[in-house]
């Protein structure tokens, strides 16, 4: 048996392959000179995404109304405005997290799908724009909304819904239709909704900025309980998606049960929190939200371990990053949980650092 040679020198009489085929009629080809050939399409896409993001960032700053809503002006800082400002920022942290998760996840998954349909570029551009708007909002300590941010977040929400429609159509048209098999392996039906969640939380951030700091309201309801219930619902939805994909992975590792058990628990705490009187202590729900946030970040590490367990490990990253557990997916849990924390801030009616 020859000993295992590892990437050693090639054998001297190595036979070259396909050139031999080219007969007189088939001239040896030279790579054509084309401008776009010099730059990898992925680089073009990244540049476009970054450019759009930067534009959004600058535009967001220029489209702000100064000062809080209401007629009283800025005579003195009201206690409530600290709460709404903090909650709004936190909501933007949430949408940042979700947008980043969508950006990388859709990038990876649509790279796998080789952008077969041009619409597959959309979520990448939209999520980078959303990411920029959210980051801008996250650093914005002033009350008062930004029209550009508001518009961008609304666009994200809409794009996610359209994406959901696309994916649902894609699943249905496959051989076997709406079967588990296609839910597992064709376009992930729940994934675009993460962009919608980012958009919704971003839009709410702008609404909270504009709301009456002492009695913030959202779509006619008290902001705290409404947001708490909304994020609880979002947690449930995200759990469903994680559940589907971890079921595909047959829950082979006990840790895979965490994202289907912890978030619903935390969501229940959040719903209970919404029912408590305004200003009550929400320590339990807060812990729940922090736990889910940490789980989202820790999930990346678990998924990285999962990639390493695939055949060839990280050396075979071109296969395993795509076929293995998706690294960018878990932080969407953190995003939603941050939204839950913003809700708790509004419920407790006091800002908190952690």
């Amino acid at each position: 048996m020859p000993t295992l040679s590892d990437r050693g020198p090639r054998p001297p009489e190595r036979h070259r392959g396909a050139q031999g085929l080219s007969g007189p009629a088939l001239k040896r080809r030279v790579a054509p000179v084309r401008a776009e050939a010099a730059v990898h399409p992925v680089v073009v896409l990244a540049a476009a995404a970054i450019g759009a993001g930067l534009l959004t960032w600058f535009a967001s700053g220029r489209s702000k109304r100064l000062g809080p809503a209401g007629s009283e002006g800025r005579r003195y800082a009201r206690r409530g405005s600290a709460v709404t400002a903090s909650a709004a920022q936190r909501l933007n942290h949430a949408s940042t997290m979700l947008a980043a998760s969508v950006l990388f996840d859709s990038g990876l998954e649509h790279y796998r799908g080789q952008f077969f349909n041009r619409a597959m570029y959309t979520p990448i551009i939209v999520s980078s724009v959303t990411l920029a708007a959210s980051l801008h909002g996250a650093g914005d300590t002033d009350p008062g909304s930004s029209r550009v941010r508001h518009g961008v977040q609304a666009l994200a929400g809409l794009t996610g819904l359209i994406g959901f429609g696309f994916h649902a159509y894609n699943v249905g048209k496959r051989e076997g239709g709406y079967s588990f098999q296609n839910l597992f392996y064709s376009a992930p039906i729940g994934a675009p909704m993460a962009l919608t969640l980012a958009g919704i939380l971003g839009v709410i951030a702008e609404h909270v900025r504009d709301a009456d700091p002492d009695a913030p309201r959202l779509v006619g309801l008290p902001a705290g309980p409404a947001l708490a219930l909304a994020t609880a619902g979002m947690l449930a939805g995200t759990t469903l998606e994680a559940g589907l994909l971890h079921f595909r992975g047959a829950f082979q590792n006990p840790a895979m049960y965490i994202p289907v058990s912890l978030p619903p628990l935390a969501a229940a705490l959040l719903a209970r929190a919404a029912a408590k009187p305004a200003g009550a202590n929400q320590a339990g729900a807060k812990w729940g939200m922090w736990a889910v946030s940490a789980m989202g970040v820790g999930g990346v590490a678990f998924h990285a371990y999962g990639v390493a367990r695939m055949m060839g490990g990280w050396d075979n990253w071109r296969q395993n990053l795509i076929d293995g557990p998706p690294l960018p997916a878990p932080p969407s849990f953190s995003g939603v949980a941050l939204g839950g924390l913003a809700a708790l801030e509004l419920l407790e009616h006091r800002p908190f650092r952690f």
């Binding site: 090639r10 085929l21 080219s22 007969g23 790579a31 077969f116 071109r318 076929d323």
Partner: protein, 219 residues
């Protein structure tokens, strides 16, 4: 019949040798195979050698201008020299090495009888005519020693020669097969999808794109 084409321009499966698609064992096995040159011969004797080479050229013809043709006869020789067997045979066929010796001698004798020259000296038309007669079992010269020529053709010549050719990377390039795949396998399995490390097929009018893609399979 379809013409043979340069369907995967620029594709060389050996470009993937140092990529995660090949493991150490595969590299060792293929290195050994690629060391077999066109005149490497251990089993066939001097008289049989031109005959098996001529047969191989008819069963799996290669472009005349191919710079580095697949050494099909040498690969068959390697199989027989290492006594790699199928694991079964028809009772009318002797065991593999004996069948080959007998068959080659008999084909030469048939060529002499019908055309007055040795098999490898014949033109391709005459060689094909003889092989077609063997295919249907019409050759019954005493030199066959009772071995049915159709069994020899179907059970020895075709499988041994065809498998020898398609064991070679040059043949894999010709048909656009992905080649060895371990530890890295494949990701995209749907209709009309290829991984960046697979051969790109030249679509009419878009051969240049395929050529560019094929230069990148080794990355």
């Amino acid at each position: 019949m379809l013409p043979r084409r340069d369907l995967y321009p620029g594709y060389d499966v050996l470009a993937k040798r140092d990529s995660p698609s090949w493991n150490a064992k595969t590299r060792a096995v293929l290195d050994e195979r690629l060391r077999i040159g066109p005149e490497t011969r251990r089993f066939f004797d001097e008289a049989e050698w031109p005959t098996i080479k001529a047969i191989a050229d008819r069963i799996v013809p290669q472009p005349v201008d191919r710079a580095d043709p697949v050494p099909v006869a040498a690969l068959v020789d390697h199989k027989l020299a290492t006594d790699t067997r199928d694991g079964y045979r028809n009772p009318e066929l002797p065991e593999e090495r004996e069948a080959w010796r007998l068959g080659l001698t008999a084909l030469d004798a048939e060529a002499q009888a019908r055309f007055g020259a040795r098999f490898h000296e014949l033109g391709t038309w005459a060689q094909d005519a003889l092989l077609k007669s063997a295919e249907v079992g019409e050759l019954t010269d005493a030199a066959w020693a009772g071995m049915p020529s159709n069994l020899f053709f179907h059970k020895r010549v075709l499988p041994d020669v065809v498998k020898a050719y398609y064991a070679h990377p040059t043949a894999w390039n010709e048909i656009g097969w992905g080649g060895p795949a371990s530890p890295r396998g494949y990701v995209r399995m749907d209709f009309d999808r290829r991984d960046p490390w697979e051969a790109a097929e030249a679509k009419p009018g878009r051969e240049d794109e395929a050529y560019e893609d094929n230069l990148l399979v080794g990355r």
